[in-house]
Amino acid sequence: MSVVGLLCIPFSAAFILLLPWPRKIMRFIFMAGGMLTAASGWTLVFGSHFQPRIFSLGGNLMLDSLSAVFVLLIVTIGVLSNIYASGYLFREGPAELSLGRLRRYAFFFHLFLFTMLVTVLSNNLGLMWIAIEATTLASAFLVNVDDKKSSIEAAWKYLILCTVGIALALFGVILVYYSIASRLPAGEGSDFLQWSFLVDKAAVLDPQIIKLAFIFVLVGYGTKMGLAPFHSWLPDAHSQAPGPVSALLSGVLLSCASVSLLRFHILTKAATGSAFSNDLLILFGIFSVAVAVPFIWEQADYKRVLAYSSVEHMGLVAVGFGFGGLWGIYGALLHVVNHALTKSLLFFCSGHLLYQFQTKEIKKVQGIFRKDPFLGSIFFFAVLAVAGMPPFSIFLSEFFILTAGFLAKKFLVCAILLGLLALIFAGFLRQGSHMTFGAYSGGAPLRERNVLMDGVLAVGIIVIFVMGFYIPGPLHELIRQASLLAGGNTP
């Protein structure tokens, strides 16, 4: 399986889905596309024997261990979301979506997967930028599936804010290009924007300019990644999108932005040899975690709670990158994976909740456990997991990140972080306990079960539980190599 081959599958699936298929067949193609993508992604990653780098398209696409982790993440969450959506959006009945909307949804879903894969696989910074912008464009329509007022509002904000942010990131890309182009003869021009090339030549780059570039990229990709104070679009978009899309947005898209930021961080570190980018990442990371606290405490909409928790977790990832070292990078990458799994699980749960309770208001959802013990227990465990409770996987990666902080002797930062995490835990528990427990007071009757949707939930909770105790060997090896790549070999 080649890199280009992998990219072809979702791309062609997207366009095949544009043809006027009947509902059943469209659903089949939709699922088949997702599964095929996943299968080929897995083959690609695990079949590559962890060769350091595989280039294609003239070096513009690259599969190294870092991108492999994210390919894995995209296709895995992608297929889960795909299966869930097959049950969720393609359901039939009085409230079913019209065929046109479904087609639009299916098309953009696969396109979205495609753009994300390009983002993480691109070695060319320009291409990466284009792909990230394309993810925004592709997902804006996914956010607005039903053309409701609030969905349009969310999609508009998402579109505008992310486009502005990404425009600023382009500024950074240009500055990087400038810094290399002004130092090296133009002959090698085609390689100038290639990350692998830039990292090799990091010594000749002008540190001052690279720092400026990093600032722009931090603001730009930080917006896409949902770091505070650039996160404002995130709760709107994530809360308005349908559950499976929110899962992808929150679990994967943010992670893709984070890997782009990480690549710039590696470059900046190599070029400047200073802790400039580390400090900025820690600063914005901490701020993101802090900003999430009040919004999780005082929130009326459960999907927004989850969205703010994504802000928090992306902050933690940034802090992990900032702490550096093997523990820090490993922890942050593991955190990306764990967060993606847990958060997507929660968004799937939110799909269930919306389906069962017909409301997004926390106040109106009570006694899930009474009404539906299966959903209730999975939801509550997932809430605990996302708030950092062992034995679930997020605890493990948070543990690694904070270990890195203590090893880096950043005691104050760690203390603040611990305090904020405890507050977030309190907020989550407050909301989660209210929703899960208590007597179930009437309302809509239990709707019929959907095997696909329930299956995804069960798989999700088992995976995050197992990963709290056990990191599969290949995954560990992959992340370890990725973190070594990201400068984790230096303590």
């Binding site: 603001v219 679009w233 606290v293 009040p294 005082e298 523990w327 605890f395 090893l407």
Partner: protein, 672 residues
């Protein structure tokens, strides 16, 4: 002996999984608990073996990358705590079978069985795991499992609220614990306890002090020392009674275990002031804990507050251990440690007993409110005997076990009178006197608890129709009541075993000459000795002689008559003293602490004399709740409300955030 440990783990796991395999509620109930009993019995066996032989064992499984092996080590200290946990879990589980039969709803029993087994298993693993990461994991599983047991009756708002407070507090505590592990690991270079111990001597003082505070706050939260106790009186009463017994009896002791492990094994030399800090917190917990317990009308809340008091007593012993370690008096240190451990064991037995007793009352009357109880001694005689035994033991009255360990703690406190430090010499007798004061208040508290609930006339219909609980529940309580007596009579032997535990933690070069535990007596050189057995004999001998003498010489005629009511007829149950009334003198005396408020409402029909109704309301204030936690929570909510103004929905505002941040960063860059 590894296989016994595995056996125990397997039984608990089986007990946790069975509820999901079996079909019928009754069957689930039986087997899940039988499994837990089997696990408990195995635990008792191997932990006793380790304690008696002094030979521990260990086991290591490969663990997660970077964090090190999952190593389980059963050394004497762990074995002691495993013993306490397993020992209490057996009667608690026996009690549970019939106790929860009323919840025949299959889902609920499965829920309970799953988390109950998980809870005990987590406690066992917490006290024997020797890797910081896994310690945290098991610690949190323990908290989580007990959280679910607390919210077992989640339809009640109080249960949910208690659960939130509990889990949040314990999570904050865990954050501190984790911080202390990180500090240690940063120094030792690994998360293995063995490495912590090896590197202990080279720990820099500043780091050591940081570790001290984080450890103290972290585990102090779990132990429930004041002012970190607020979760305890909320959470313990909400859980089913046999779970409350375990939570109060052993779960909060895991924090004591960790404190011992940390301060005697991970940090090397101990500064004197650590001991002083612990003693101060301990005495505050002991006295305030019991003062709050006195104000409670709810039986289980009262018991929960009394647990705070007992943690204070345990920590007094441990504080003295640290002081003696710091002043290099290993013999006294190990005496104090033995006293501490002994009280841990004793508290487990009598607090477990009392919670089971409260559970028995609750299961038959469906209320724990003392104001609605009364007269149960005639309706539930065996429960009454057991509860009374527990009450006597917890009030530290001779000849039961509470007295023996408390005597030892008194001795530890007083034997500091030859210390070089003036402050230590001055304050330890005062602490000892305050400990005695706490004991006297505990006696008052349990006179009230037993007297109001079990004696006199029933105050409600439920209490009037109460009947004795089923035999298995009686057995469970009887077992613990027997242990209250047994531990006292066997005290010298138990203490000699505990000496082995302390021997592994406090290195005394010579065998300790200052005290001996042989035969009948526990002796401390400067102090003299006690023998609970002799006391038991003396007291029961005197009683028997008196009884015989009266039987022979005195008039045996008895005339039954109504109680004296100042000559007025018709004494009713409502005229009895109430629990609130009973604690009134204390409430008046310590009004500065309770800030009591009272409200009297009179209703009349125009004339003052023609009163139709009179309502009286009296409330006391929990100063820590009112002055610290409530304002904190309110402040947090207020800040959250204000902070949400960040996100008004105006896209221009959001854009300007990006914009302003960018400008600030650019200015920062240009200043670099």
């Amino acid at each position: 002996m590894e296989f016994l440990l595995f056996g125990q783990i397997v039984f608990y796991l089986a007990g946790a999984i069975l509820p999901f395999i079996l079909k019928d509620g009754g069957v689930i109930n039986r087997w899940t608990h039988i499994s837990a009993i089997a696990g408990g019995l195995i635990g008792v066996v191997y932990s006793l073996a380790v304690l008696v032989t002094g030979q521990g064992f260990s086991f290591a499984a490969p663990g997660l990358p970077f964090v090190g092996n999952l190593s389980l080590v059963v050394d004497p200290l762990s074995a002691f705590f495993i013993f306490v946990i397993s020992f209490l879990s057996v009667p608690a589980t026996i009690f549970a079978i019939r106790y929860i039969q009323e919840f025949q709803d299959k889902k609920r029993i499965a829920f309970l069985g799953f988390f109950y087994n998980l809870f005990i298993l987590a406690m066992i693993l917490v006290v024997c795991v020797h890797n910081a990461f896994y310690f945290l994991v098991f610690w949190e599983i323990m908290s989580l499992a007990s959280y679910f047991l607390v919210v077992f009756e989640h339809e009640k708002i109080q249960a949910r609220r208690a659960g939130i407070i509990y889990l949040v507090m314990t999570h904050i505590g865990t954050a501190f614990i984790a911080a202390s592990f990180w500090l240690l690991a940063g120094h030792a270079g690994s998360f293995a306890f063995a490495d912590f111990h090896l590197q202990a001597a080279t720990l820099p003082p500043a780091l050591k002090n940081a570790i001290f505070w984080t450890v103290l706050i972290g585990f102090g939260t779990k132990a429930g020392i004041i002012p970190l106790h607020i979760w305890l009186p909320e959470a313990h009463p909400q859980a089913p009674s046999h779970v409350s017994a375990l939570m109060s009896g052993v779960m909060i002791k895991t924090a004591v275990y960790a404190l011992i492990r940390f301060f005697l094994s991970f940090v090397g030399e101990v500064p004197l002031w650590w001991g002083v800090v612990i003693l101060s917190l301990a005495i505050i917990s002991a006295v305030l804990g019991i003062l709050y317990a006195l104000m409670e009308r709810d039986l289980k809340r009262l018991l929960a507050f009394s647990s705070i008091e007992n943690i204070g007593i345990i920590l007094l012993g441990f504080g003295m251990t640290l002081i003696f370690v710091a002043t290099d008096k290993p013999a006294y240190a190990s005496f104090a440690l033995i006293a501490t451990l002994f009280h841990v064991l004793n508290h487990a037995s009598f607090k477990g007993l009392l919670f089971l007793g409260a559970g028995a009352v609750l299961s038959k009357t469906h209320t724990g409110n003392a104001e609605e109880l009364g007269g149960l001694i005639k309706r539930m005689p065996w429960t009454a005997v057991c509860f009374l035994t527990g009450a006597v033991a917890i009030s530290a009255l001779p000849p039961l076990n509470g007295f023996v360990s408390k005597w030892m703690i008194f001795c530890s406190l007083l034997s500091a009178h030859q210390s070089q430090e003036l402050a230590v010499r001055f304050f330890t007798p005062i602490l000892a006197a305050l400990l005695g004061f706490a004991g006297a208040l505990a006696a008052t508290c349990f006179v009230k608890a037993f007297g109001i609930c079990f004696l006199g006339e029933p105050r409600s219909e439920q209490a009037r129709h109460a009947v004795e609980v089923s035999p298995s529940m009686q057995w469970a309580m009887g077992l613990l009541a027997g242990s209250c007596l047994g531990f006292a009579l066997l005290a010298p032997w138990i203490v000699s075993i505990l000496q082995k535990v302390s021997g592994t933690l406090i290195e005394a070069d010579t065998p300790i000459p200052n005290f001996t535990f042989n035969g009948l007596f526990i002796t401390l050189a400067d102090f003299g000795q006690i023998s609970p057995l002799v006391f038991g004999w003396m007291l029961s001998g005197a009683i028997l002689i008196l009884f015989a003498a009266l039987a022979i010489f005195a008039n045996r005629k008895v005339m039954l008559a109504p109680s004296w009511a100042c000559g007025l007829p018709g004494l009713t149950a409502r005229m009895q003293y109430t629990a609130t009334g009973y604690s009134k003198p204390i409430r008046r005396i310590f009004s500065f602490l309770y800030q009591p408020t009272r409200q009297v409402e009179l209703e009349d029909e125009g004339h003052e004399i023609l009163r139709t109704a009179q309502r009286f309301e009296s409330k006391t204030t929990h100063v820590f709740d009112e002055w610290i936690y409530r304002p904190l929570a309110k402040c947090m909510l207020f800040v959250s409300k204000k902070a949400k103004l960040m996100q008004t929905g105006h896209i221009q505002l959001y854009l300007s955030y990006i914009f302003i941040t960018l400008i600030v960063l650019l200015v920062y860059w240009s200043r670099l």
